[in-house]
C-alpha cells in the first residue's frame, strides 16, 4: 500500500478543515476502513492523505415525533442492534444485520457504507484498467458479468453495493452533508449518481464534503420490509436486495395509498422502481398484486450476457419484500 499521511481529526470541524483542499482520490476520509483499506492494499486507491472521520456524530436518536437521526460514524452494529430503530424502521435494521460479518458490522460505519466503492471484480483487481479507473473499456461487457447490473445500460455496469441505501431511500431519508460551503441535505434517492453523471465516484458528494448524518422521517401508516437474496448465509453480498415501504390508506382495509420500492444490487445506483410503485398504489396487497408489482419492476430489465437469472431473483426478492411488509411470513 502506498505510504500516506494521516490526519487524526478530533471532530467534524477538524475533519472538514483537513479535507478543504481535497481533490478526488488524493485526500480521503477514513472511517472504519473496512472498504478503504482493502482498496489501498490492492492499489486501487492510492491516497496521499487520510483523514480520520470516526469522530463525526455517531449517535442514533429515534424521537417519538419527528425525524430519526443516525450519525455518520455510527457503526452498522449500532444500527442493527438499536431497539427503537428496529421498531420503527425494521427495513433498515434488517438490512444492517445482513451486512458482511459481525466483524465488518462492528467496525464499518453508516457514512462509509453509503460511500463505499463498487465490488465489481474488474474494479477491485489492479490489473484491469477499466472505465471507472480512467481506462477505455468496461471489462464486464464481454467478460464475467454474473453479478453485474441488469438496469442502467452502462457504460459502467457496477451494482451499488450498499445494503443500507435501498431501505433509506424507501423510507425517504435525507443525507446530511457538510463541506466548505456549509451544510446541505440531499434526498437519499438523488444522492447516488449513474456512471454517465459520475464515472469516478458513485454519489453527488464532493471530495471536500462529508456525510455527517442520515435523517429519516417518521413513517406514518407505513409498513416496510427488506428482503435480501444471498447465496451464502453470511459473509456474502446480496445477489439482489429489495426494500419496500407501503403507506397504507387511513381508512384501513389494507389499501396502499402510496409505495416506495427500491432494488439493490441490480444497477449502478439503488434502483427505485416507479412502475412497481404505480402498480401497488390503490391496491389491496396480496400474492397476486405482489407478483404484478414484481413483473412491473423488472419489465425494463436489460440483463447482460451472463446475468439473466438476476431478473428472476429480483422478482422473487421484491415479491417477498412486499409480502413481508404486509406481515406475511416469507421463506
Amino acid at each position: 500500500m502506498k505510504a500516506f499521511a494521516y490526519v487524526n481529526a478530533a471532530n467534524q470541524q477538524e475533519a472538514l478543515a483537513a479535507l478543504s483542499t481535497a481533490t478526488r482520490g488524493r485526500r480521503l476520509p477514513l472511517a472504519g476502513g473496512t472498504d478503504l483499506l482493502g482498496l489501498m492494499k490492492d492499489y486501487v486507491a492510492e491516497p496521499d492523505v487520510l483523514v480520520n472521520v470516526k469522530n463525526l456524530p455517531a449517535g442514533i436518536a429515534v424521537p417519538a415525533q419527528g425525524l430519526a437521526v443516525i450519525g455518520a460514524a455510527a457503526t452498522l452494529t449500532d444500527v442493527a442492534d438499536h431497539a427503537a430503530l428496529a421498531k420503527t424502521y425494521p427495513a433498515l435494521t434488517d438490512a444492517a444485520r445482513g451486512v458482511g460479518t459481525p466483524q465488518i458490522r462492528n467496525v464499518g460505519t453508516v457514512g462509509g457504507n453509503l460511500m463505499q466503492r463498487p465490488r465489481c471484480w474488474y474494479f477491485r483487481n489492479e490489473e484491469f484498467h477499466c472505465l471507472k479507473k480512467g481506462g477505455a473499456r468496461c471489462f464486464a461487457v464481454e467478460g464475467e458479468n454474473q453479478y453485474h447490473a441488469i438496469f442502467g445500460d452502462g457504460p459502467c455496469h457496477i451494482v451499488h453495493p450498499s445494503s443500507l441505501a435501498p431501505p433509506l431511500i424507501a423510507y425517504n431519508a435525507r443525507i446530511k452533508v457538510a463541506g466548505p460551503q456549509g451544510e446541505r441535505e440531499i434526498e437519499a434517492g438523488t444522492f447516488f449518481l449513474m456512471p454517465d453523471r459520475n464515472m469516478f465516484g458513485e454519489t453527488v458528494l464532493e471530495p471536500t464534503e462529508l456525510v455527517t448524518e442520515v435523517v429519516i422521517p417518521t413513517p406514518r401508516n407505513v409498513s416496510a420490509a427488506t428482503y435480501e437474496v444471498k447465496f451464502k448465509q453470511s459473509h456474502d453480498w446480496s445477489i439482489v436486495t429489495a426494500s419496500v415501504a407501503l403507506r397504507m390508506s387511513g381508512g384501513g382495509g389494507g389499501v396502499v395509498e402510496s409505495a416506495r420500492v427500491v432494488l439493490g444490487a441490480v444497477a449502478p445506483v439503488p434502483w427505485r422502481s416507479l412502475p412497481a410503485e404505480q402498480m401497488l398504489k390503490g391496491k389491496r396487497v396480496d400474492e397476486a398484486v405482489a407478483w404484478q408489482a414484481a413483473e412491473a419492476a423488472l419489465a425494463d430489465a436489460r440483463p447482460m450476457s451472463g446475468n439473466g437469472y438476476k431478473v428472476q431473483v429480483a422478482k422473487t426478492a421484491l415479491r417477498r419484500a412486499i409480502m413481508k411488509a404486509t406481515g406475511a411470513k416469507v421463506v
Partner: protein, 729 residues
C-alpha cells in the same frame, strides 16, 4: 466380459499379518478413544507459532512480482528503481529476458524490504517489458477451431484409451441408455495459511521455517536448488495451517526467499498473499465428460463409453479415475488433457477422486431414474464384491438407516411452496497406506518421555497421535510424553500426502516406544527378580503380567536409569498398518426454486480407516472433508475472465468458502477395523460429498444440474429450461 478388475486397488488383499513383537493392543486404553488435540489450547490461544508468526531479529519481508499476462515473453527487466526504493535490501530477477511466462501469476522478479508495505510498493517500481503472446483462458477456447497453439506440443494431449469387455455387446444387452455430460470446476486449495517460509542463513547454513507437508523433502529440494549439502539445511514446520496436497517443497517462493536472504544478509519472510495463492500455488483440475451408459432391464450395468477432458492449467495433466467403484463390465474411456494459460494443478485432497465420483454418481442416479429404481438399491446391485477395503454393501444400509433414506421422495419434491428438499448419496474409496518413517524415543530418569519424528502435522492431529501411541505403549498418561515433530533434524519421515502419514508414522511410533519399553524392562527386571519378558506396562506401572502388585511405579522404574536417559531408534515395520478404505455419504439439501439458492442441511458419513487411533481427530478429518465437499458442490470456483485470462476472484470474497451458517449438520459413523492396522483418513471423506449434494439437488428440484458448483444461476437456468421443454427427469 472383463476378467481384469476395473479398479485394481479394490479387493486387494489388505489384511496384514499382525506385527509379531508389538501388535496393536487388543484392549487399548488410549488408542481409539476421544482424545483432544495436545496442541489445541495453544493454537486457539494464539501461542502456537506458525511460519507466518516467526519474526527473526532484523528480518525483512520478501515479495514476488508476478506476470500480469497469461502468456508473454520477457523482453527486459529493469530493477534499478526498485533497488533504490525506501527499505529495499535485496532485488532479483527470477526470469531472464527471452523467457516465457505461461500463466498469470508466474514469478518474474522479487525483492525484500524492511516492511511488507515497502516491499509491495517497491515491487511496482520493477519495470518489466513484455511481448504479450496469444493465450488460452478456458477449455472451450482451447478446443475451438483455429485456437492459437500456445504450447509446444499443442494445446491438447490425448491420453490412453482404457478399455475392457465388449462394448457393443454391452449396449446390446442394455434396456435403457443414458447419454449425458458432466463437469466440475477448477478448485484451488485455499489453505488458510498461505504458502511460504522464513529463511535465515548462518554462513552457508540455512534454517527455514516453511509451511510444508514435507520437512525432509523440502530440505532436499532446498539443498539441490541452492547447491549446498543437505546437512546444511534445517527445515522447521512446528505448526501448519493446511496444505491439502499443494505444499511439498520450498517451491519457487522458498528458493527466492533463500536467495533474497543471502543477498540481503538478513532473514527474510516470504509468505504469499491470497491472490498469489489462488494464482500460482496449485489447484484441482477441471473435468468434463460425455458419457453413454447402458443398463439392463433388471438393473445391472452393461456398458460405459466415455470421452473426458479437463484442464490442469499450463502444461499440467487432468486425469481422474472413471468409472468410479461400480462395476461396468464393458467399458471404454478416452481422456484428453487440455492446456490453458492458467496456474498449473497440484495434488489436491484425493486427487481425481471427487471428479470421478461426481461423474459416475450423477450417472448412477440418472440410470436409476430411467429404471424407476431406488438409486440406493441400484447402487448396491452394481457394487464390486465385498472386501476389507470395499465395504460399501455393508455401509450403504447403515448410512441409509441413520440418514432416513426411506423418507426420500422420487425425483422432484412434490411439496408445495418454493423450498424443495432432496436426498442423494455417493460412495468413495482410497488407498491411504504409508511406510518409511523413523523415530527416536528417550525415556528420562524423571519419567518424562520424548518421542521425536521428522513428520509434520498439517493441522490434522499428527502430534496428538504420536503422543497417544507412545503413552499407550508405555502405559503412562499422555502428559508425560512430549511429541516432537516438524523438524528435518529429527528422524526421517516422508511427505504427508496420499493419506500416508498416520499409517507411516503410527507403526514407527509403536515399534520405537515398544523397543524403549523393552529396554526399560531389561533395566528393572533384575531388581524385581523376574524375567523381563514377564513384564508389562500399564496404568503407570511396570509389573508382572497379571500381577500389578509385583512391579514398580513408572517414575520409580525410570529412576533406575540413574543419570543417563534411555534412548532408542526405531522405524516403521510391516503388520501395523494397511491400505484401502471405503466409505459412503448421504446429503440432504433445501433448494429455493425462486432464488436458485441451495443449502446443504445434513450430511451422513460412514467411513473406515482401519484401526482408529483417535476417534476425535478422525472425525475431524471427516468434518473437514465434508465441508470441503460442500464448498466444491456449491461455492468454490476459480473464475478466469474469458477475454483476458485473468482470475477475477483471487480472494475469499467471490471465491466463496462456506461460513459457519453454511455448514450442514454432520453425522459421522467411523467403522473401526482394528485387525487391519492404521490407514489414513485425510482424503476419503471429501470425495463423495459433492456428488451426494448434486444428486440431492436433482432429487429436490426435478431438474438435473450436471456441473458444479451449483450456483443460483444454474438452478434458475435449469428450471427455466425444464419449464420450456415441459420435461421432467
Amino acid at each position: 466380459m472383463a476378467d481384469t478388475p476395473q479398479v485394481p486397488e479394490v479387493n486387494a488383499p489388505s489384511r496384514p499379518q499382525p506385527h509379531e513383537k508389538y501388535p496393536w493392543p487388543a484392549e487399548p486404553t488410549l488408542v481409539g478413544k476421544r482424545i483432544q488435540r495436545v496442541d489445541g489450547p495453544i493454537k486457539v490461544t494464539g501461542q502456537a507459532k506458525y511460519s507466518y508468526d516467526i519474526n527473526r531479529p532484523g528480518g525483512l519481508h520478501g515479495r514476488i512480482l508476478r506476470s500480469p499476462h497469461p502468456h508473454a515473453r520477457i523482453v527486459a527487466i529493469d530493477l534499478s528503481a526498485a533497488s533504490k526504493a525506501p527499505g529495499v535490501k535485496a532485488v532479483m530477477a527470477v526470469l531472464q529476458p527471452g523467457a516465457k511466462v505461461m500463466f498469470q501469476g508466474e514469478e518474474v522478479a522479487a525483492l525484500a524490504a524492511a516492511t511488507e508495505e515497502q516491499a509491495d510498493d517497491a515491487l511496482r517500481l520493477i519495470k518489466v517489458q513484455y511481448e504479450v503472446l496469444p493465450h488460452i483462458a478456458t477449455e472451450a477456447l482451447a478446443l475451438r477451431e483455429g485456437a492459437p497453439q500456445v504450447f509446444k506440443d499443442g494445446n491438447i494431449k490425448a491420453g490412453d484409451t482404457e478399455e475392457a469387455g465388449d462394448l457393443e455387446a454391452g449396449f446390446k444387452a442394455a434396456a435403457h441408455t443414458v447419454l449425458a455430460g458432466y463437469a466440475t470446476q477448477v478448485q484451488t486449495h485455499v489453505s488458510l495459511e498461505t504458502h511460504g517460509c522464513v529463511c535465515e542463513w548462518d554462513g552457508d547454513k540455512l534454517t527455514s521455517w516453511v509451511s510444508t507437508q514435507a520437512v525432509h523433502g523440502t530440505r532436499e529440494q532446498f539443498a539441490k536448488a541452492l547447491d549446498i549439502p543437505q546437512a546444511n539445511v534445517r527445515v522447521i514446520t512446528e505448526y501448519m495451517g493446511g496444505g491439502f496436497g499443494s505444499k511439498f517443497g520450498p517451491d519457487a517462493q522458498g528458493i527466492i526467499c533463500a536467495k533474497l536472504a543471502k543477498q540481503a544478509g538478513a532473514a527474510v519472510k516470504l509468505l504469499l498473499d491470497r491472490k498469489d495463492e489462488h494464482l500460482a500455488s496449485g489447484n484441482r483440475p477441471s473435468s468434463a465428460s460425455k458419457i453413454k451408459a447402458g443398463v439392463s432391464a433388471d438393473g445391472m450395468l452393461t456398458a460405459f463409453d466415455a470421452e473426458t477432458w479437463g484442464t490442469g492449467g499450463a502444461g499440467a495433466g487432468s486425469g481422474f479415475p472413471l468409472p468410479y467403484i461400480y462395476v461396468f463390465p464393458n467399458r471404454r474411456r478416452k481422456h484428453r488433457d487440455i492446456f490453458t494459460n492458467a496456474g498449473p494443478q497440484r495434488a489436491m485432497r484425493a486427487p481425481g477422486h471427487p471428479q470421478g465420483c461426481f461423474h459416475t454418481e450423477m450417472l448412477m442416479d440418472e440410470l436409476a431414474d430411467k429404471l424407476r429404481m431406488d438409486p440406493l438399491a441400484f447402487r448396491i446391485k452394481n457394487l464390486p464384491p465385498e472386501a476389507p477395503n470395499a465395504m460399501w454393501r455393508k455401509y450403504f444400509p447403515i448410512a441409509a438407516e441413520r440418514f432416513g433414506w426411506s423418507k426420500r421422495h422420487v425425483t422432484g419434491d412434490p411439496t408445495p411452496g418454493p423450498i424443495k428438499r432432496g436426498m442423494g448419496c455417493a460412495a468413495n474409496r482410497w488407498g491411504g497406506g504409508g511406510q518409511g518413517t523413523k523415530a527416536h524415543c528417550e525415556i528420562n530418569p524423571d519419567g518424562s518421555v520424548v518421542m521425536r519424528c521428522g513428520t509434520q502435522d498439517l493441522g490434522v492431529g499428527t502430534k496428538t497421535i504420536v503422543a497417544i501411541i507412545t503413552a499407550e505403549t508405555l502405559g503412562i498418561p499422555m502428559e508425560l510424553v512430549r511429541a516432537e515433530i516438524g523438524d528435518s533434524n529429527y528422524p526421517f519421515s516422508g511427505g504427508s500426502g496420499g493419506s500416508t502419514t498416520a499409517p507411516g508414522v503410527s507403526p514407527a511410533i509403536r515399534v520405537t516406544s515398544g523397543m524403549a519399553l523393552d529396554a526399560l524392562k531389561a533395566k528393572v527386571a533384575p531388581g524385581l527378580g523376574v524375567d523381563a519378558a514377564t513384564l508389562v506396562a500399564s496404568n503407570g506401572r511396570i509389573h508382572v503380567k497379571g500381577d500389578p502388585s509385583k512391579g514398580l511405579a513408572w517414575r520409580d522404574a525410570c529412576k533406575q536409569l540413574g543419570m543417563e536417559p534411555l534412548a532408542v531408534d526405531g522405524q516403521w515395520e510391516r503388520g501395523l498398518s494397511a491400505s484401502g478404505t471405503s466409505g459412503v455419504q448421504f446429503a440432504e439439501v433445501e433448494v429455493d426454486i425462486e432464488t436458485g439458492v441451495s443449502k446443504v442441511t445434513r450430511v451422513t458419513c460412514v467411513q473406515d480407516c482401519g484401526l482408529i487411533v483417535d476417534q476425535l481427530t478422525a472425525e475431524s478429518q471427516c468434518i473437514g472433508g465434508i465441508i470441503g465437499g460442500v464448498n466444491y458442490a456449491l461455492f468454490e470456483d476459480r473464475i478466469l475472465d474469458r477475454v483476458t485470462g485473468h482470475m477475477v476472484n483471487p480472494n475469499m470474497e467471490w471465491y466463496r468458502i462456506a461460513g459457519p451458517s453454511d455448514i450442514p449438520t454432520i453425522d459421522i459413523t467411523l467403522m473401526n477395523q482394528p485387525e487391519r492396522g492404521v490407514i489414513g483418513i485425510g482424503e476419503p471423506p471429501t470425495i463423495s460429498t459433492a456428488a451426494a449434494v448434486a444428486n440431492a439437488v436433482a432429487n429436490a428440484i426435478g431438474a438435473r444440474i450436471r456441473s458444479i458448483p451449483i450456483t443460483p444461476e444454474k438452478v434458475i437456468t435449469a428450471l427455466a429450461e425444464r419449464e420450456k421443454t415441459g420435461g421432467t427427469l
